[in-house]
């Protein structure tokens, strides 16, 4: 299978967890009856004595992981983003306040769980995690980002990190681009000088396609992968904004408090430029594919091209 084809986030996650378990005996994986559907169970098949399926008990799952971390384990929690949010207060009070080594891998985020509908489609989690002191937030754009990040975050990074991925759909976004995953870093996927599209997650695939379309219209578009949403890479965001003078942000998340908000917090205070924030404004719904939902909720290539053209025409006024 070509590395440039569409791959599955959770299948790669399962493989990586086993690799990480082999490398570090202190890594434990905790899940809440979603071991099979997140592929966390792959870890359990190999490391039976450090895989904990706590049953359908998300609040306990988080605090249990905190206890393990407090005495020396490197805790990795794997569950659906939507139901991890049920334990928001546990994440705040028992993980973040004690700054413990708990890595929370939130799968099935955004619209990736296309069939299960609004209850399962988590579009508020970046905002909810970003607001907590000590918490770090990483959003891999594709499986290649996940490969770059996961081992380093689990084994070497101290403190809590929220790692947000989708269920399956991972189109190629960062393959062939050389960088190491670093907390606090954003990465330029494509250079340009008229406008920048900045964002996180699989919608960057739509952003890259939009940039191609716009090139045909004579518009030069930079695309930035905001891999680390918190801490955010002020330097890269400011440098790109200074070069392009206009920014469109895109995310598979509410436009309130998410990646666009984080970028706006930087730009509004240090270098205001004309800006549009693309994202969700309401709950999701069941559909036949992830891509169908991106189109329906105006997060596809077409919607991005439209937003870019609007910002460019406003900027000229």
């Amino acid at each position: 299978m070509a590395l440039t084809s569409v791959q599955s986030f959770r299948d790669v996650l399962g493989e990586l967890l086993v690799e990480i378990g082999n490398e570090d005996q202190n890594v434990v994986v905790i899940t809440a009856d979603v071991g099979k559907s997140t592929r966390a169970a792959k870890f359990g098949e190999v490391f039976k004595d450090r895989y904990y399926n706590v049953g359908i008990s998300e609040q306990h799952m988080i605090t249990f992981a905190a206890g393990l971390a407090a005495i020396g384990a490197k805790s990795v929690v794997v569950a659906y983003a939507a139901f991890i949010m049920r334990a928001w207060e546990q994440i705040r009070n028992s993980v973040a306040r004690m700054n413990l080594n708990v890595k929370i891998i939130a799968t099935h985020s955004g619209y990736s769980n296309y069939a299960d509908g609004s209850s399962h489609q988590m579009l508020e989690d970046i905002a909810l995690m970003r607001v907590i002191p000590n918490m770090n937030v990483v959003v891999p754009a594709d499986v290649h980002d996940l490969r770059r990040c996961l081992k380093k975050l689990v084994i070497e990074t101290r403190g809590p990190v929220y790692i947000r991925i989708g269920r399956d759909y991972s189109p190629p976004i960062t393959f062939g681009i050389e960088y190491d995953c670093e907390l606090g870093k954003a990465y330029l996927l494509r250079d340009g000088h008229d406008i920048a599209i900045m964002g996180s997650g699989v919608v960057l695939y739509e952003a890259l396609q939009a940039a191609e379309e716009l090139k045909k219209m004579g518009i030069s578009v930079a695309v930035v992968n905001v891999l680390s949403v918190k801490p955010i890479d002020r330097e890269t965001i400011l440098n790109v904004a200074k070069k392009t003078g206009r920014v469109v942000t895109v995310e598979e998340h509410m436009v309130f408090g998410g990646v666009g908000s984080a970028i706006a917090e930087v730009l509004a205070q240090e270098y205001p430029v004309p800006m549009r924030i693309l994202g969700s404004t309401t709950f999701g719904r069941s559909a036949k594919s992830h891509q169908e939902l991106l189109e329906y909720f105006n997060l596809d290539k077409k919607a991005i091209v439209k937003a870019v053209l609007e910002v460019i025409s406003h900027g000229n006024r």
Binding site: G55, S57, H60, T63, F64, A65, A70, I71
Partner: protein
């Protein structure tokens, strides 16, 4: 006295030491009672009644059972899940020399090392508490790791009776039972009081010990007014093959405290 599954297991040597132990524990209770009242005098935000109800439990545990070690898997852990009783813990830690007594009147001052709910920034505190139902889950994580690493440490958790309302307690105790964590001991401070009033008026709780028992915990009872009953219960847990919970009836602990205070420790 101890009820439930308890069997008297005191050895002759224990009986000889018992009188000395009780004398020392009474003295610790007397002094720490005065410390808690002092903290309350300096800050009325101190949760006085919740602190006093578990004071004898903490005195027995810390003076007689909690073992220290440099190694986290070989020492005992103490998780104050009902974190609002922090002043009781601070008082005893001050009496046994872990924190300076001069810190006690400063509780809740902006520059104090003593927070109104326990915080890991304070020396020897294992868990940042304040939100109910979480200490038990945290303790299960610690106890699980100790067992996996073959450590000798045990994990003691102090919970409230009102705290039993939290859904997370169900999630946690069913998991602990399935893990057969015989190094985990929960003590429930059964003081019949929660924030809005009498526990049973807010939500009945008489069935709660039965639930713990039926899902696989060893269940013991003791009286917070009776030091011997607590010693017997704590001695018994050391021989359990499953997690143990001790429900300590504490609604009339004030009487013990007042008696000790007025007669002095003999």
């Amino acid at each position: 006295m101890v009820k439930g599954d308890a069997k008297p297991i005191l050895k002759i040597s224990d009986l000889i030491n018992l009188e000395e132990d009780i004398k020392a524990i009474n003295k610790l209770i007397k002094n720490s009672y005065e410390d808690v009242l002092l903290m309350y005098k300096h800050d009325k935000h101190v949760h006085l009644n919740s602190s006093l109800s578990c004071l004898p439990i903490l005195a027995v545990l810390i003076s007689k059972y909690i073992r220290r070690s440099e190694n986290d898997i070989d020492r005992d852990w103490l998780i104050l899940s009902k974190g609002h009783a922090a002043p009781a813990l601070y008082a005893i830690l001050a009496e046994v020399g872990v924190i300076p007594k001069s810190e006690l009147p400063k509780i809740n001052r902006i520059d104090s090392i003593l927070q109104n709910h326990t915080d890991i920034s304070t020396p020897s505190i294992d868990f940042s508490s304040g939100s109910l139902g979480q200490g038990i889950s945290f303790a299960i994580g610690v106890a699980t790791w100790i067992k996996r690493m073959g450590g000798k440490g045990r994990v003691f958790v102090i919970m409230g009776d009102g705290e039993q309302d939290e859904g997370q307690v169900w999630e946690a105790i069913t998991h602990a039972a399935s893990l057969k964590l015989n190094n985990l001991v929960v003590i429930v401070d059964w003081n019949n009081t929660q924030l809005d009033g009498v526990t049973n008026e807010i939500k009945p709780k008489h069935y709660i010990p039965l639930i713990w028992k039926i899902i696989g915990w060893k269940v013991l009872w003791a009286s917070g007014r009776d030091i011997v009953s607590m010693i017997m219960a704590f001695d018994e847990i050391l021989e359990s093959d499953k997690p143990t919970v001790i429900f300590v009836q504490t609604s009339d602990v004030r009487k013990l405290l007042e008696a000790i205070a007025s007669h002095g420790a003999h």
